[in-house]
């Protein structure tokens, strides 16, 4: 390839960047940059000039209103990665304190608390077991002999709860008891020394936060397109990760049609880590696919003929996370690997790893980022190495001696202050000696024959740094297309550049690089949301979350079908979805009428779900694709994973069938009452006295402690209103003392047990799974109640409360307090020795039963 006969004029400086930095919203518009004389033919009356930016480019138009799903969503729900609100400290006070100051406050205490609750065994295991006897968890005062060796924890727990409730209150005094306790046992209570644990947690939090701000592990993208063989059937192969942990690698054959569709089932490989990057290159008619996860890199070979199975060739393991893996476009089975420790290897499948360089420091100035990148250049033995400060090329045959600087963040390239390299990419398929370098502000095209001076520079104005790039080389004399993609914002930008102007008239000879056409924004995955049919709110929320998942990869291909040219762009999201969009090439010569020029894809219009006139079946293929995807998604996601089921338990082993039979069906009393109620309503009268009250079976102790809404006061008022207050009072006081004492004793024992259980069970109830086997209980549920109870079985805080039963007859019901009382058990004929077992069993998940109100006199 010839070197351009003349380059665009530019100044050349050295040293650190002078220009003040910062994202500039419109910095890429309205600039020609420079001009160069280079029109067709030199001997002309007037010289003809061409601009560095602003030449006419190819015209691409989106074929659909939105990106269309390529693959059906995988089974199993996607777990979104942590959001800022998960790890940031939120409180009014904090916000006030922070006003003016930049930087975020991480919610360290909450995370540490989560750890203690979620992993009590790891946090306090051995001492917890040792001290088990010395911590008293009951409510009552400790008796004398016990007080010598045990302390009462309930008060401490209350203090902690109070502290939690007052969180954010400026006048927050630490309870002295808490301080005393923590002072006493901070040094020995914890399994892992608290300081060490806190350090580790803090480090992890910082790492999570920084990866939330900018996650560079995804650099390069985890999606690759293996194009069809020349002249063969238009069937390519899409290489993408999948599975819940993104640790499966799929090679999916795809037929390029109007909308590309999958053919056959994919070849699947399960890997031992999350796939961070998939890189591919074609050498000698074979595709080599490199896959990077944090500690492993692997390489596959895919024969050029589609349909043939990919073969895994080799895997390497690294001690430090790898940050880059690129595949050589020159030699089969050669790759380059970088690790975060600053080591660069040339990896050949035949000869193994060759260590090229190790430098934990950055190249041109100091930068804290451990990110490193490496790629190939026009010379198969010369590799480029990059960090955030720039790029160097080094010869693999003598890496110490032979190297030169290719790009430097500095005045040489006219960079801004604070600018950092985000993604370098070898543009070999378009031009053997050209390189693309993106930073958070600009894109640069470099020519390795003229190092340090970019042959093209443009500020891309993207909101997030472009982590993915894809090149689609044009035919000689035509412009090359470059796609830039960001992760968090899912932005996609199409750029065109050419390295020969004048086109055919000047013979397409080599000339200086020019940016052609205007940059074009393409559909993002989340953009399709507005075109989708209206969903139920919670579905909509789920869908929104799913579609807005950060992008994780980008691939594209040009498809030429006779005179019609189109571009297919695939985008991968972190949720594992692959979306695809098609751009069609518009011939440049007839200037399109302005009305058509504008707003074919204006927001608000939704051509996706409108029936296009041309399509006979009424709906476009894209809409059908969406229908299917949505259906599959709702199937995959509404089926909640097992552990989120409300706990239920089998009572088959607790009650015999006979035990329960006697109670089936509404009692005669209920039937009687209902009939009366109905009749009164028909007569539009009112019921003044519930006369049959006398017929009531001996009142259970629960009548004293009505569950739910009927507290003693309202019961008393109701009675007063009905006019038989005296009778009510009589009833309350005329309880036999003996019976009440018994009831109280019973309750105390129960509470004690529940308290003890609660503290232990609090963190593992969620992980215990009870299969729903409570159908019989729930069917007969209402009949277990005394008529005095409201006929809804509910318990505050239980997951089933308030939500309508969605699962029909199998809906589980949390056992009522009634089940636990010994009277109720006795009256069901449960033998005494089994009662305790039953109670223990039930109390496991009778977590936080409403405290029975104390009777007014005690």
């Amino acid at each position: 390839m010839e070197f351009p006969a003349a380059l665009f004029p530019s100044y050349f400086g050295a040293g650190p960047p002078q220009e003040e930095g910062g994202p500039a919203p419109a910095a890429g518009w309205g600039e020609h940059g420079q001009v160069l004389e280079g029109g067709p033919g030199r001997r002309q009356v007037q010289p003809a000039f061409v601009p560095r930016r602003g030449a006419t480019g190819e015209k691409w138009e989106a074929a659909d209103g939105a990106a269309v799903p390529m693959l059906l969503p995988s089974a199993g729900c996607w777990i979104p990665s942590p959001a800022p609100e998960d790890i940031l400290y939120r409180s009014g006070l904090c916000r006030k304190l922070r006003a003016g100051k930049s930087g975020a406050t991480l919610d360290f205490a909450r995370q540490l608390g989560h750890f203690f609750v979620d992993h009590p065994e790891d946090a306090f295991g051995s001492l917890g077991r040792l001290l088990h006897k010395n911590f008293y968890l009951g409510n009552s005062k400790l008796k004398r002999p016990a007080r010598n060796s045990a302390i009462r924890m309930t008060a401490l727990v209350e203090d902690i709860n109070r502290l939690e409730a007052r969180r954010g209150c400026p006048r927050q005094h630490l309870a002295s008891r808490l301080r005393w306790f923590s002072h006493l046992c901070r040094d020995w209570l914890f399994e892992v020394p608290l300081g060490l644990l806190a350090d580790c947690l803090h480090e992890e939090l910082m790492q999570q936060w920084s990866s939330l701000l900018f996650d560079d592990s995804l650099t390069g993208g985890a999606l690759a397109w293996l194009p069809p063989e020349d002249g063969g059937t238009p069937m390519g192969c899409l290489v993408h990760p999948g599975g819940q942990a993104m640790n499966c690698l799929y090679f999916q054959d795809v037929v390029l049609e109007e909308l590309p569709c999958t053919r056959g089932s994919p070849a699947q490989f399960e890997l031992s880590g999350r796939v961070q990057q998939v890189a591919a290159a074609r050498v000698d008619g074979q595709d080599f696919v490199g896959v990077r996860s944090d500690y492993h890199c692997g390489v596959w070979r895919v024969p050029g003929k589609r349909g043939a199975a990919p073969t895994p060739l080799q895997v390497i393991r690294t001690d430090v996370p790898a940050s880059c893996l690129t595949v050589s476009p020159h030699l089969p089975g050669e790759l380059s690997v970088c690790t975060q420790s600053g080591t660069v290897y040339l990896w050949s499948v035949e000869t193994g790893l060759q260590h090229l360089r190790h430098d934990p420091q950055t190249m041109f100035f100091r930068d804290h980022s451990p990110w490193r990148w490496s790629d190939f250049t026009a010379h198969p033995r010369v590799l480029s190495c990059a960090d955030r400060t720039g790029l160097q090329c080094l010869d693999a045959r003598a890496p110490r001696r032979c190297h030169f600087d290719l790009f430097k963040v500095g005045e040489e390239a006219g960079c801004q202050q604070g600018e950092r390299v985000v993604l370098p990419m070898y543009l070999g398929r378009a031009h053997p000696s050209q390189y693309l370098v993106t930073t958070q502000f600009s894109v640069y095209v470099l020519d390795e024959r003229l190092p340090l001076v970019p042959v093209l520079k443009w500020s891309h104005m993207m909101k997030a740094p472009p982590l993915f790039a894809h090149l689609m080389p044009g035919k000689p004399g035509r412009s090359h297309n470059v796609l830039l993609g960001a992760s968090r914002t899912q932005e996609l930008l199409l750029l065109q550049y050419q390295d020969s102007f004048g086109g055919v008239s000047s013979g397409g000879s080599q000339s200086a690089c020019q940016l052609a056409g205007t940059p074009q924004k393409l559909h993002s995955i989340t953009g399709c949301l507005q075109h989708l049919p209206t969903q139920l709110p919670h579905r909509h929320h789920l869908l929104q979350q799913r579609l807005a998942a950060p992008a994780a990869g980008l691939a594209a291909t040009l498809q030429e079908d006779g005179p019609q040219k189109s571009m297919l762009i695939f985008q991968l999201s972190e949720a594992g979805d692959v979306f695809c969009q098609r751009l069609t090439h518009k011939a440049a010569h007839p200037p399109a009428p302005p009305s058509r020029d504008e707003g074919t894809t204006a927001p608000g219009s939704s051509p996706l779900f409108e029936a296009p006139a041309s399509s006979p079946q009424g709906l476009g293929a894209a809409a059908l694709r969406y229908r299917r995807w949505l259906r599959a998604l709702s199937r995959a996601c509404t089926e909640p994973p097992l552990h989120t089921w409300p706990p239920s338990l089998s009572q088959r082993r607790l009650f015999t069938r006979r035990d329960l039979e006697g109670l089936a069906g509404p009692s005669s009393l209920q039937r009687q009452m209902r009939q009366r109620l109905r009749q009164t309503m028909k007569e539009r009268g009112r019921i003044q006295h519930w006369e049959p009250l006398a017929l009531q079976p001996p009142p259970l102790p629960q009548t004293l402690e009505p569950a739910g809404g009927s507290d003693p006061l309202s019961a008393r008022l109701t009675a007063a209103w009905a006019g038989d207050w005296e009778q009510w009072w009589e009833e309350r006081t005329s309880f036999s003392v003996a019976r009440r004492q018994q009831a109280l004793r019973e309750r105390r024992r129960r509470q004690k047990r529940a308290q003890g259980r609660r503290s232990l069970s609090a963190s593992f109830t969620s992980s215990l799974t009870y299969q729903s086997e409570l159908s019989e209980l729930s069917d007969t549920g209402p009949s277990l109640l005394s008529p005095g109870h409201p006929p809804i079985l509910s318990q505050e805080g239980s997951p089933s409360a308030g939500s309508p039963p969605v699962r029909g007859p199998t809906t589980s019901v949390v056992p009522d307090e009634a089940l636990l009382s010994s009277q109720s058990l006795r009256c069901r004929g449960i033998p005494k020795e089994r009662r305790k077992t039953l109670r223990d069993y039930l109390s496991v998940w009778a977590e936080g039963p409403p405290e029975p109100p104390e009777s007014p006199r005690s």
Binding site: A5, A26, Q34, A378, L452
Partner: protein
């Protein structure tokens, strides 16, 4: 409160800007223009301390819209640019330059010249470093346009000169242009940068007036000053100048040697190799072999039949003479682990044979010498050649078979 008001204003400004951005990126020029008219309001209360203020954004966005969506064409555009020039003092020169570029690209050379002259006479207080650079560029572009006028007059004179008719006023005018152009061009090429266009024009002027020393010095400075970037074109211009001047082979070779050192993959390396091969000196011929081997290392040269021809010719000479086989051996040593896969795979043999028979001939010869008659590339191509009954492939096969011991010596 006023603070809140400011905040709201800022927010709506940002929202408006993002709408404009969105429209521009989707080529909805009309929509963008409508939003821009709203955005102009932000000029009124410009509290921003950002380095790209609203006035610059309006200039940039407005220009972009007018490029793509303008009814009255250049007139409207110029009108807009004039307004923009008055909007900010700091950006005056930059806007002027961009305006001139647009005029130049649309062929309005005279208007561009007027604008350049106007911008050159602009003075406002003390100039910043950036403004200084912009001013130098404006002068340089004016010099460039003067050069074009000069070259036009020169052509007229030369045409008329053939008729034996000379016009004194035209000649004087031409000299005037020369002076104006030379002053400005000379200024800019002193500053480190990439000034291919300006250097070429300046050297052309100097050569016309016979000032070869000055031209040589300018080109030397442009090529060898370490403050300038390592621009291959600087060396190419020097080489072409030396060639035009009929300089000795030695100086030409030394100029190309430096180019070879900085860009071994430059297309002039073929000329360099032919020049060296013709040389009587052993050392030079050896360098020639090195040069062509180095060039063929690069992916861009993989299918360059000319280069393969150079290599094949020189290697054939060496093999026939059976002298200097160690040259080949040394070159091959650092390449034998990757050239076979890079150049001589079976896949490439097939493709080269299909696409370019003479390329595959040259490559097969090189492969046969370097890798012996058992090499996949050589075997495939010679078989196909014999099958197609091409005489030279049969000769090739015979040659390689006869000289097979050479391969053993090279690889041994």
């Amino acid at each position: 409160s006023s603070n809140e008001h400011k905040l709201n204003f800022k927010k709506s400004k940002e929202a408006c800007l993002s709408y404009i951005q969105d429209a521009l990126l989707q080529k909805q020029w009309k929509r963008a223009a409508e939003f821009l008219t709203c955005y102009v309001e932000s000029l009124e209360k410009d509290y921003s301390r950002e380095h790209v203020g609203p006035s610059e954004m309006i200039w940039r966005i407005g220009t972009e819209i007018l490029w793509h969506h303008s009814q009255n064409g250049m007139k409207e555009f110029s009108c807009f640019m004039e307004q923009m020039k008055t909007l900010g003092v700091k950006r005056y020169l930059k806007v002027c330059l961009e305006h001139v570029f647009h005029l130049l690209c649309n062929g309005q050379i005279d208007e561009a010249y007027q604008n350049l002259s106007l911008a050159e006479s602009w003075r406002f207080g003390e100039q910043t470093a950036i403004q200084d650079k912009e001013m130098k560029l404006i002068q340089a572009y004016r010099g460039l346009l003067d050069y074009y006028s000069w070259s036009k007059q020169k052509n007229i004179l030369l045409d008329h000169g053939e008729d034996g008719f000379s016009d004194l006023s035209v000649e004087q005018e031409m000299h005037g242009y020369f002076r104006k152009a030379a002053v400005n061009l000379k200024e800019i090429i002193k500053i480190p940068g990439v000034w291919d266009l300006f250097v070429k024009c300046y050297v052309d002027l100097l050569e016309f007036y016979g000032d070869h020393n000055e031209a040589h010095q300018v080109l030397n400075e442009y090529a060898y000053n370490s403050k300038f970037p390592a621009n291959p074109n600087a060396h190419v211009y020097l080489y072409q100048f030396l060639k035009r001047q009929g300089e000795s082979k030695k100086s030409l070779i030394s100029a190309l040697k430096i180019l070879h050192d900085i860009v071994p993959s430059h297309e002039l390396m073929i000329d360099f190799n032919t020049m060296l091969q013709k040389s009587k000196k052993r050392k030079k011929r050896r360098l020639g072999l090195e040069v062509i081997f180095a060039a063929l290392d690069y992916a861009g040269w993989k299918e360059n039949a000319k280069a393969w021809n150079c290599l094949a010719r020189q290697m054939k000479q060496i093999v026939i003479s059976e002298k200097y086989l160690d040259w080949i051996k040394q070159e091959w040593n650092s390449r034998k682990d990757w050239w076979p896969a890079f150049h001589f795979s079976r896949y490439l043999a097939k493709r080269n044979w299909q696409e370019n028979k003479s390329l595959s001939y040259e490559k097969a010869l090189v492969a046969g010498i370097l890798l012996g008659k058992g090499c996949k590339y050589f075997k495939y191509v010679s078989q196909q050649g014999c099958k197609a009954q091409l005489k030279r492939f049969r000769v090739l096969k015979k040659f390689v078979n006869r000289h097979n011991p050479v391969y053993l010596r090279i690889s041994g």
